[in-house]
């Protein structure tokens, strides 16, 4: 049977992570499963977790008055859902809804933030990985904003 430590180590987001950090993180981790069409979190809620997606698909949704709700991004196997847990005030900015049955590892944010405060090397390691993720998503968002396929 796969251990939580093994699953986290095998997830692309934590590829190459030092085993000592894995050992620290595993105490904050749990296996979770969501049926299709389930809201994992909603905008405005407390960001108390983040998720390493193992299988399935999750849609990030945004809505507003006088416009239809829309999906701004989908995330799937091997990706990370959520970084609001890392940045104050720790509030979700979007809705996250499963488009199909989804399995993930949930990392308890309060637990992990406390460990990062105690061990800044662990905190720096995690911050570096999230900074890289944010950079990729910011670049993708800029590309998206250019609306390159619109008729000119």
């Amino acid at each position: 049977m796969e251990t939580l430590e093994g699953i986290i180590a095998g997830h692309p987001f934590f590829e190459g992570l030092d085993p000592q950090y894995l050992a620290l993180m595993v105490g904050c981790a749990s296996n979770v499963r969501f049926n299709a069409n389930t809201y994992i979190f909603k905008e405005g809620g407390e960001a108390n977790e983040f998720f390493l997606i193992r299988a399935g698909k999750v849609a990030l949704e945004v809505f507003g008055a006088n416009r239809k709700p829309s999906i701004i991004e989908t995330l799937g196997e091997g990706e990370v859902l959520g970084w609001s847990w890392l940045i104050e005030p720790y509030i979700w900015k979007f809705h996250a809804r499963t488009m199909e049955m989804t399995r993930a590892i949930a990392l308890d944010a309060k637990c992990l933030r406390a460990k990062c405060e105690e061990n800044h090397d662990l905190g720096y390691e995690i911050m570096k990985r999230f900074a890289s993720l944010m950079q990729r998503r910011l670049e993708a968002t800029r590309f998206q904003l250019l609306d390159v396929y619109a008729a000119r």
């Binding site: 692309p12 698909k57 849609a59 949704e61 239809k68 709700p69 829309s70 999906i71 701004i72 991004e73 989908t74 799937g76 091997g78 990706e79 488009m99 670049e139 993708a140 590309f143 998206q144 250019l146 609306d147 390159v148 396929y149 619109a150 008729a151 000119r152």
Partner: protein, 271 residues
């Protein structure tokens, strides 16, 4: 240089503003054979002439197929042609995709919007000669689900062996079940072996710049990345100079170039 009169044999709507026209010579002759990636100059009588990439199957020699997006007066006139009406055709012209050099290699095809049209003949060729090519990876992005071209074929291609078809849209409504995100976000799902792959990209120039960066990150060298460029082509044979881009005429030296050729020009703000 003189256009030949072709008859519109079929006209179909792909998306709200994009149509596919099937043309054949009036006299029943074979249409001129073409290489994937080449284009024709299509003349709507009384309106004007446009360079349009050929989007049909190169093995079907009795017809030429074009997918056209209606964005202005000339394209609107072209897509409004009824079955049985006449269109002038010159060409095919230009240098197409390196389908012969790609034999034995994996192919990574990255298309954005109507950019899938000039790449469809490559897909037809690869699937018709499946043993001659390695894996086929198609990454296709569109603005939204209703702008996706060739939906039935995308499904059919995804069911063929050694073929991975990944489709995304920049914006999806709640009813969309597929991927949402720009086309570069599909790379993480693609199984790519850079040392034995050639990449072919067609789409808006900004999209191609993002994609080339991603392909380089994946380990492809600039000689292994091909782009189809678009400029204001008029004569189609390198005489008029309208489509000059640095030292090249897009109509005659291209429209397909290696990224090694294009990279210094793509980064020039003035061009």
């Amino acid at each position: 240089m003189l256009p030949q009169a072709f008859q519109v044999r079929a006209a179909g709507k792909e998306t709200p503003d994009t149509f596919t026209l099937t043309l054949a010579p009036h006299n029943g002759d074979h249409a001129n054979s073409f290489e994937p990636g080449q284009f024709s100059m299509l003349w709507t009588f009384g309106v004007g002439e446009l360079p349009i990439s050929i989007s049909g199957d190169p093995t079907k020699e009795d017809r030429l197929v074009y997918t056209v997006r209606s964005v202005g007066k000339a394209t609107h006139a072209l897509v409004s042609q009824q079955v049985g009406s006449s269109v002038g055709v010159r060409g095919p012209y230009g240098v197409g995709w390196p389908v012969e050099a790609a034999r034995g290699q994996d192919l990574i095809i990255v298309a954005g919007g109507i950019g899938l049209a000039p790449l469809r003949p490559v897909i037809y060729k690869v699937l018709a000669e499946r043993e001659s090519y390695g894996r086929l990876v198609l990454l296709y992005g569109a603005r939204n689900p209703r702008d996706l071209l060739y939906r039935k074929e995308l499904v059919a291609w995804s069911r063929t062996r050694d073929t991975q078809v990944l489709v995304t849209v920049d914006y999806g409504g709640l009813s969309w079940r597929g991927h949402v995100g720009v086309v570069t976000t599909l790379f993480k799902f693609a199984r790519i072996h850079p040392e034995r792959s050639l990449a072919m990209i067609c789409g808006p120039e900004i999209m191609m710049r993002f994609v080339t960066r991603e392909l380089e990150t994946q380990g492809l060298t600039r000689d292994r990345i091909y782009l189809s460029m678009e400029r204001n082509m008029k004569c189609g044979v390198g005489l008029c100079g309208h489509c000059q881009y640095g030292p090249y005429f897009i109509c005659k030296d291209g429209p397909v170039f290696t990224y090694r050729q294009m990279q210094p020009l793509l980064e020039k703000y003035e061009l």
